[in-house]
C-alpha cells in the first residue's frame, strides 16, 4: 500500500496549460500568499513564510485526500505559472467549490482566470461527475464577483456557507453551460 500521486490530469486551453499544483510552484505561490493580494485566501503581508509554506503543502495534499484539487495556470507562451484555479473542498466546506487566484498584478486583467475556470468547470462536470459547483466570495472582492458573474454564476442566498459574510455564487449546471 504505497501512496503515489502521478496520474493527475493536464488540461489545455488556448493560452494555458493546467496541471496539478506541484513543488515547482512553491516559490511563486509563497510570493503571492505572503502579499496583501492573498488576503481573501488566508495569506497576507503579515503572514510568515512558514504559514505560506504550509498552505502550499496543504493544497498539494488536497489532491491526495480528495482526488482532485487546485490546478496551476501555466502560460504556454512564457512557461510561467500565473495562478491557481480549481476544485477546493476541505472538510467542513458545505459544497465543492471552484476557486481562483491570480498570483501577480501583471497577470490580472487578461482573462486567464476566466479561461481556466471554463476548462476546469467542464472537467469537474464531465470527468468528475459534479452536478453543481459554487464559489464563495468575500463581498468586498469586486474582481472575483465580476468574474463569477461573467462565468454565468448567480447569487444563491439560501446556500449554506461557513462564513456568514460570504457571497455564494452558483455556477450553471452541466447541461446549461
Amino acid at each position: 500500500m504505497t501512496v503515489t500521486l502521478s496520474q493527475t490530469p493536464v488540461l489545455e486551453t488556448e493560452r494555458l496549460m493546467l496541471r496539478a499544483i506541484d513543488p515547482q510552484d512553491l516559490e511563486p505561490a509563497i510570493a503571492f500568499l505572503s502579499s496583501d493580494r492573498a488576503g481573501y485566501v488566508g495569506g497576507g503581508a503579515n503572514k510568515d513564510q512558514g504559514h505560506c509554506w504550509r498552505i502550499v503543502a496543504s493544497l498539494i495534499g488536497h489532491w491526495v485526500l480528495r482526488g482532485t484539487g487546485p490546478f496551476t495556470l501555466m502560460e504556454k507562451s512564457s512557461g510561467k505559472p500565473l495562478g491557481s484555479v480549481g476544485p477546493f473542498y476541505p472538510q467542513g466546506r458545505p459544497e465543492r467549490e471552484l476557486s481562483w487566484t491570480i498570483w501577480s498584478p501583471e497577470a490580472e486583467g487578461s482573462g486567464f482566470a476566466f479561461e481556466a475556470v471554463m476548462a476546469i468547470r467542464e472537467h469537474v462536470y464531465h470527468d468528475l461527475g459534479w452536478e453543481t459547483a459554487v464559489s464563495y466570495i468575500d463581498p468586498s472582492n469586486t474582481r472575483s464577483i465580476a468574474l463569477a458573474r461573467r462565468l454565468g454564476g448567480v447569487l444563491d442566498p439560501d446556500a449554506p456557507r461557513e462564513d456568514a459574510n460570504d457571497l455564494v455564487f452558483r455556477h450553471p449546471k452541466p447541461g446549461d453551460v
Binding site: 500500500m1 504505497t2 501512496v3 503515489t4 500521486l5 502521478s6 496520474q7 493527475t8 496541471r19 496539478a20 499544483i21 506541484d22 513543488p23 512553491l26 509563497i30 510568515d48 513564510q49 512558514g50 504559514h51 505560506c52 509554506w53 504550509r54 498552505i55 502550499v56 503543502a57 496543504s58 493544497l59 498539494i60 495534499g61 488536497h62 489532491w63 491526495v64 485526500l65 480528495r66 476541505p90 472538510q91 467542513g92 461557513e162
Partner: protein, 174 residues
C-alpha cells in the same frame, strides 16, 4: 504533477502509512483536545483538515514527511510520527504526536525509532533533532529514552520557545 510516494513502514505492532481522508475524525479530535496545546493547538476542524493535507504535501515538497501511525491489525489511527520539516524549521525533525487512544503504550517510541532508522538508513540523513515544548514532560522523557540530548533553545514566531534535542548520530548506540 511529477508525482511522489509515501512508502509504508511496519513495526511489531504498528503500520506507518500515508494519511487519508478516513483518518480525519481521529486526527481532528486530537487536534481539538487539550493534548494539542504542545503543538500550537487546540485547532478547529478547518485548521486540522489543512494540516492533515499539509502532512501529505510535505512528502511532495521534501521527499519525506510524517506518517499516520495505525494499529497494524485494525488500522485504527493512533498518532502522527515521522520527519517534519516545514520551511521555518531549523533542520529535519523526528516528530511525534499520539492520540488519546494510543497514549501510554510506547507507540510514539516504537514509531519514532522506525522513522529515525528510515531517515538514517533509507534517506541517508546524517543528523536529526526533535523540537519539544519544555512543558511537555512526556515528550521530554521520550526524547531522552530515544537517546537524544538537549542542545539549545529555538524561538519560533508562532509557537514560542522549543527545546532542540539532538538524536544520536547514525551508527551510534541509542
Amino acid at each position: 504533477m511529477t508525482g511522489f510516494t509515501i512508502p509504508p513502514l511496519t513495526t511489531d505492532r504498528l503500520i506507518l502509512r500515508a494519511p487519508r481522508q478516513s483518518d480525519f475524525e481521529a486526527y481532528a479530535a486530537f487536534r481539538a483536545s487539550p493534548r494539542a496545546r504542545f503543538v500550537g493547538g487546540p485547532y478547529d476542524r478547518a485548521q486540522s483538515y489543512q494540516q492533515l493535507a499539509a502532512l501529505i504535501g510535505q512528502w511532495a515538497l521534501r521527499g519525506y514527511g510524517r506518517w499516520m501511525v495505525a494499529d497494524r491489525t485494525s488500522d485504527t489511527p493512533l498518532g502522527v510520527v515521522g520527519i517534519y520539516h516545514p520551511e521555518d524549521w531549523p533542520e529535519p525533525e523526528v516528530a511525534w504526536s499520539v492520540f488519546g487512544t494510543g497514549e501510554g503504550r510506547g507507540i510514539a517510541h516504537e514509531a519514532a525509532r522506525a522513522a529515525r532508522t528510515y531517515a538514517y538508513d533509507i534517506l541517508g540523513m546524517s543528523a536529526l533533532i526533535s523540537m519539544v515544548d519544555p512543558a511537555n514532560t512526556r515528550s521530554v522523557n521520550l526524547a531522552k529514552r530515544l537517546g537524544a540530548t538537549y542542545e539549545r533553545d529555538f524561538q519560533h514566531p508562532s509557537y514560542g520557545t522549543m527545546y532542540i534535542w539532538r538524536h544520536p548520530s547514525p551508527g551510534a548506540p541509542s
